[in-house]
Amino acid sequence: MLDKRLVIVSGKGGVGKSAVSSALALLAQRNGLRVLAVEMEAGGLAAHFGTGPLAFEPREVRPGLHAMRIVRSDALLEYLSLQLRLPGMGRFGAVARAFDALATAAPAVREIVSIGKILWEVKEDRWDLVVADAPPTGQIASYLRAPASISELVATGRIRSQAGWMADTLRDPARTRLVLVTLPEELPTAETRESMDWVEKTGVVGPPLVITNRVLSEVTGTSTLEGVAGAMVRLHRSLWTEQQTWLDRLPPDLTLPYLFGLFTPGEVAAHISDELEALR
């Protein structure tokens, strides 16, 4: 994954998507890469990096690792001025607001502003790797297909002329990788499989890497333990058995262990980063 330029991390809510995103960014940073981590919804990355709220302006949170948040109004102004080459848009608040209002009703316009900022950072070549903590799987499709949708929907207009290179960057497996974080449970497994099918069908992005989080180890040997220890082993075994049902339906790409007794998001991110380093 570290040889890509852009890693987009998605997954059902509650599976540890932000923890894995921040761990990937930390992994790249400790391997000497210049990394930009982008939070597309408020809160996720900031908690795992142990920083205060992130802003649109990238901030160095570790040596060589910058982090930012997509603030839609800022992204919009930058999109209008940089990508659509409308100089001095900061002074034209009315145009930005009008554009934002239209974007609420027009498919793909709003998404292309967010994903466009990320793709712009990739294009500008300031970073070895951009890691995006993307919206959950339920919404990720509308972001990934936004450049293609714009090309279909908008016959003319400057926004259309930008959509081409964006779609190319997303589609190129040498540059972009989609990571789907999941759990060995019913709903996350179903959502992951739906996303995989959708990606294969549309081809808007290359084949995804599935990371299955919180996987329990198998307990070998027989046990006739009684008391608390016995109860622990029985719960562990039956949870493990339940997990196998869903692991069988997920690709065996990469699994992360269940982390016991951790207190803070920062600790969780550091441990996952260690696990990923060990798997390399």
Binding site: A47, L102, T104, V154, V228
Partner: protein
């Protein structure tokens, strides 16, 4: 009077299962109960007997006082707009390609649809207890702010933004050449798209009076409701639960309890492995013991810092697959303020 119970929380914490378990338990206590769920897992849907149902409540085949309904948020948002528009405008809206985009992009719309549907069930007075599994969009808090936000949206906030001031008439958009804002927006988006979007927003505006009136009714139902916040002891969901607990008193009322799902037995804390155990099993005992300590700390901190009533629902290795399994989830829990939940 119908009592309303709102079960809120981040996605993936077992909210839907818990709402269903409460419903089964109440129904078995002789309370005529409706549980309203959003996107349940297939096994849970089949346990509740709502596998193939739409948003019409259905009685359970084996439990006469248990009713269930499943919300299809997209369909019901559409229904809401249809209900408040003139017939010819309604047809135009129904055919409009932007309708779906607007409902996807406006985060409160899914929540509005769910809140509207839930309020309808409460107002029907056909049940003693209506339990609502709130949709997780916007972290779940959207549900409570949605009625006001929805009225603001259809009331022309977007149109006012587009014009930079007063609400426009239909001719405004054909007179675009004179307006620099629209000329620039048109050159970015293409003039055709701009016009089609504007037409859509003007149509949507005609639903304002109906949506605003209905919004006030929905808010009244939400303010009367008893709220439960559900979470696991994991750091991210707890963070969300804290946010809910602090914001809900302003939007509706103070949650009656914070329910920690997947709790381990209290006597697992601080257990040292027997020296006779194999290294593998010894490590396993240490791990589950550490996990139990962490969970207890998370609950105690929540209760100490925010003064919340805290309850614990046991971690079951397999999700319940029948009504008795669901009821057992509540029976094996500790700290649920049961008396304040029933009518």
């Amino acid at each position: 009077m119908t009592k309303t119970l709102l079960v809120t929380g981040a996605g993936g914490v077992g909210k839907t299962t818990f709402a269903a378990a409460l419903a089964v338990k109440a129904a078995r206590a002789g309370v005529r109960t409706l549980v309203v769920t959003v996107d349940p897992a297939r096994r849970l849907a089949s346990t509740l007997g709502v596998e193939d149902l739409g948003d019409e409540p259905q009685p359970h085949a084996d439990e006469p006082d248990l009713w269930a309904a499943m919300l299809d948020s997209k369909a019901s948002w559409r229904a809401v707009a249809m209900r408040h528009a003139d017939p010819d405008v309604a047809t135009r809206l129904a055919d409009n390609e932007f309708f779906e985009a607007a409902s996807e992009h406006f985060p409160a719309s899914q929540s509005y649809a769910a809140a509207d549907q839930a309020a309808t069930f409460v107002q029907a007075r056909a049940w003693d207890l209506v339990i609502v599994d709130t949709p997780p969009s916007g972290g779940g808090i959207d549900f409570f702010a949605a009625p006001a936000q929805m009225a603001d949206l259809v009331g022309g906030r977007l149109l006012r933004w587009i014009t930079g001031g007063p609400l426009p008439g239909r001719r405004f958009f054909y007179d675009r050449a004179a307006r620099p804002v629209l000329r620039i927006a048109g050159s970015i988006l293409g003039s055709d798209l701009l016009e089609r979007v504007s037409e859509f927003l003007l149509d949507l505006r005609t639903t304002y009076d109906g949506v605003a009136r209905r919004g006030r009714e929905i808010e009244a139902v939400l303010k009367e409701a008893v709220i439960l916040v559900i979470t696991t002891a994991d750091p991210a969901p707890v963070g969300e639960a804290v946010r809910f607990y602090r914001q809900l008193p302003e939007l509706a009322s103070t949650p009656a309890a914070v329910i920690f799902n997947r709790a381990l037995p209290a006597d697992w804390a601080g257990v040292a492995p027997d020296p006779d155990l194999s290294a593998e099993l010894g490590r396993l005992v240490e791990q589950w013991s550490a996990e139990t300590v962490r969970q207890a700390d998370a609950r105690e901190e929540f209760s100490a810092r925010y003064g919340a009533v805290v309850a614990a629902v046991p971690w079951q290795s397999h999700p319940p697959t029948d009504l008795s399994g669901l009821a057992a989830l509540i029976d094996d829990s500790t700290g649920i303020p049961w008396d304040s939940l029933l009518p």
